[in-house]
Symmetry: C2
DNA sequence: TTATAATATGTGCATATGTTCATATACTAA
DNA sequence: TTAGTATATGAACATATGCACATATTATAA
């Protein structure tokens, strides 16, 4: 038998994860990082967006432990850091491709 | 070989679904409806929230086809209407319970 | 040292969001 | 009809969000 109860802390955590995935820019960033590690400028160029906007979003994602950073000289290379959330996103993307 | 391209329409759709799941109230509503069909007042009482707030959120969820409505006399009974999204939510809830 | 490059950060702004309040609507029952 | 109940809706409000701009920080290279 399952326990259906949910405390507010768990719910807040879940909503935070889904909120991270609820923005088109963050989806694009994560989907790109799923394919390959990228620097900030690479991401900004790929998505045709301001470097500052990308940097802010990467900070947001890093704070949630969804991405990690590797510094080399002046460059910051970002890559996924949460296997479960990345699978959640990629499976949803695949499902959307096959249905819409 | 996979196609990694994603058009903006698909991304907007995905972000809309995740946005629906990014609010604690909507998570609680959907999780409750996953267990059993409920009227608006039932939901409001269970979540200890304003009837109007629940009604607004149900309209939001219905517009996205995540819930459906069954009218009986003056009552509106709501239940899930998207198997895939409900599974997405419930699996994430289960995962959170077992890890956090 | 100075200049340059990559990234990070603070601020301001327009817009979006979630809620409450008051009220409207739909339906029932007396 | 009228009163009562359940739900829906519109408006207003405080807060959150995502972005651009300017600038700061960090590290390199000349």
């Amino acid at each position: 038998m399952h326990d259906h109860s949910l405390d507010d802390q768990q719910i807040d955590h879940i909503s935070q994860i889904f909120k991270a995935l609820s923005d088109p820019t963050r989806i694009k960033v994560l989907h790109l990082l799923f394919q390959r590690e990228c620097s900030v400028n690479e991401i900004a160029e790929q998505l045709n967006m301001n470097q500052s906007a990308i940097s802010h979003q990467l900070k947001y994602l890093k704070q949630l432990h969804l991405v990690k950073k590797r510094k080399v000289k002046t460059m910051s290379y970002y890559s996924p850091d949460d296997y479960h959330v990345m699978n959640l996103l990629e499976q949803t993307i695949e499902h959307t491709k096959h249905t819409s």
